[in-house]
Amino acid sequence: MYIFSRKKRIVMTLVFIQCVLLLAGCGFKDIDNRLFVIGIGVDPSEKIEGHYKITLKLSIPVASIKEEKKPTYQYLVHEGENIEEAIRILETHTDRVLEFGHTKIIMVNEALLENNVKDVMDYFVRRGDMQLIAWVGVAKNSAEEVLRAEPKAEEAVSTSLTRYFDRTGTESPYIVSAFLFEFRRNSYSLGIDPVLPVVETNDDGSQLIVNKSIIVQEGRPPFEMSSRFTREYNSLAHNLEGYSYKIEHEENNIVVNIGKIKVKYKVITDNKKPTAIEMKIDMTGEIIESDKDLSLNNLAKYNKLAEDEVKKHILEFLTTVQKENLDPIGFGLQYRTMYLNNKDTMTIWNEAYQELPFDLKVKVNLKSTGTIE
């Protein structure tokens, strides 16, 4: 290496670094110049018909997490013609850049579910930086209220709403968790309908209650399922356990707690026409409550009682849903997998679905009666 070229190289490198340092403004934004958006709420606008009201829940970082008692949030609300516009204006309401990479909660108002749900969803999916594993929920009265609720037991840096859904916190079968991608997939697919959880707050906004759900289908008012039905749906579709049935029998009332559940279903067809849906359900559980003493010898009898009870409930759920021509569990999808595709598959199914009888085979296996007899 000649000495001359060495000096020249050093000079050139310095110049290069200089230039590039100036360019480094692109994309370089320190973390304390960003604000994380934790949740978005979409409501129909109160002032103008057809417009949206957007609520953003921002999480404010705290210097020392151990000293903070309550989490700090900031809420931004704005109305706009479409979601994008509202968010752009909201960016001017704050001094830092809004960072959507951590948006985990999307709340949609119930009123929007009938006609506008696809538009709403479209925005969220199209933005590449928003997570597709955000949870979608339906707000009972107003998405803004739901987002603004700050339960007392909340920690400084994590959101309690997230914990409802991600099953690190509570794992109850009354809570349906719907990811954004799942929602989108099920909305567009033929043969299955998406289910969203309903989130409501109590009167003073200090508690969040999630135990119902809604089946959504474009073009018709959404069908709300009560807690009971939500539970059935969850156990059938997602194999979730941890709930109980009350059985009333002549002498005693016993409550059975279901520990494990396994569901298998099949669409029975005859020459390409669906004739019945057969479901096989295996449950294991134990007896939680009883007002009289029980003996272990009668477990077989209790099994039978439980089976009847369970069958009754599930049949009720399935027929109710069927009457509304909704299919949250995905029987239609199963039907489609059984035959090679052609144009008529879905039409045949749609015609036949409402009349299909259900053939349930329930088997309950009670393991014990708890700690006492």
Binding site: C26, G128, D129, I133, F181, R185, S189, G330, Y339, N341
Partner: protein, 360 residues
Amino acid sequence: MYYLIFVTMVTNIIATVPRILVIESKKGVIFSMIAALLIGVVLTYFVIQLFNKFSGQSFPNILKKYSPRWFYVPVILYFAISWFIAGIITLFTYVFLFTTFVSIETSLVITTLAFVIIVSFGMLMKSESVLHTVEIVFLLLLPVILFLFVKIMTDENLNWGFVQVAMMNINTTPSYMSFSAASYLFIGVVNIVIFNSFFKDKLKFGFKQVTIIGTVGAVVLFITYFVPIGFNGFEQIEHLNFPWVSTSDSVRMKFGVIERVIFIFVIIFLGISFLSLLIHWHVSLKLLESIFHFKKLKWKKKNLTSYFFVILFCGISLFLVTRIDEFELFKYASIFYNILPLFYFILFLSLFVAKRRAKL
């Protein structure tokens, strides 16, 4: 030797290939995938056999020795340009992907510049070092890739029902576009044109290798096509621009430090596309060097031909990145894939000619 093939395969899982496949999803993609699988393996076999006859020499050398100038200059030129375009497609796909998903504010030029700087350093290395680099990086990334795949495939949200629905579409006729796109996966072997100079002994390509490549290819194809469907549903998947990235965004690592799997995916893909880009441009550079050798460009006893080409490549890519948008990229990529079989044909033809002349 396997690395060349595998890297190209894995790269193209994420690149443009799935998009084409799913667009044709209603038109008999499965058949064309199977056909491409078979033909790809067969072609690989032939290419290796032909090169075995000339072990230890690289393609330009072979052509120079055995064919007249008017023949080999356009052939090599054509190859060099094809390789360059292949590299550019990978580069642009990745840059667009990164910009869309990870950081919207970063300008395309900066990201391209980063790539181009490192790749230009890599292009000027000896070919052997390129092979070693590919080996090491691939080995480093492989466990993560496997982990990713396993994680994606065992996720409970992957609804196999959709996959089955897709499979039920097997009774429709194949289309050419999907066939050529699927066969792109197997094109990695033709990188051997330059690297053949290192394979001094004849490469064994017997039954065992065929099976290995065939199985891996089949598995990769299956994963490429079907898994995104399981996550995204059959109907809507045509509308996804980057099906695989959206798929990986749908998986959640509940207890991991990085919660969104998409980032792991994007970073891994960065490594892989970098490798692919390196190989392609290196091959292209070497091919160009063998035909053009500017004796005039001398500076302090070093011949600057290679630098000239490197700067040319950088310039073209930086220029184009601001001009092309996603749709055009997709269009050009499909055209490129459609022309590929011609490429194979010319390769065989030239090798055949050379073989005959060598015997003479």
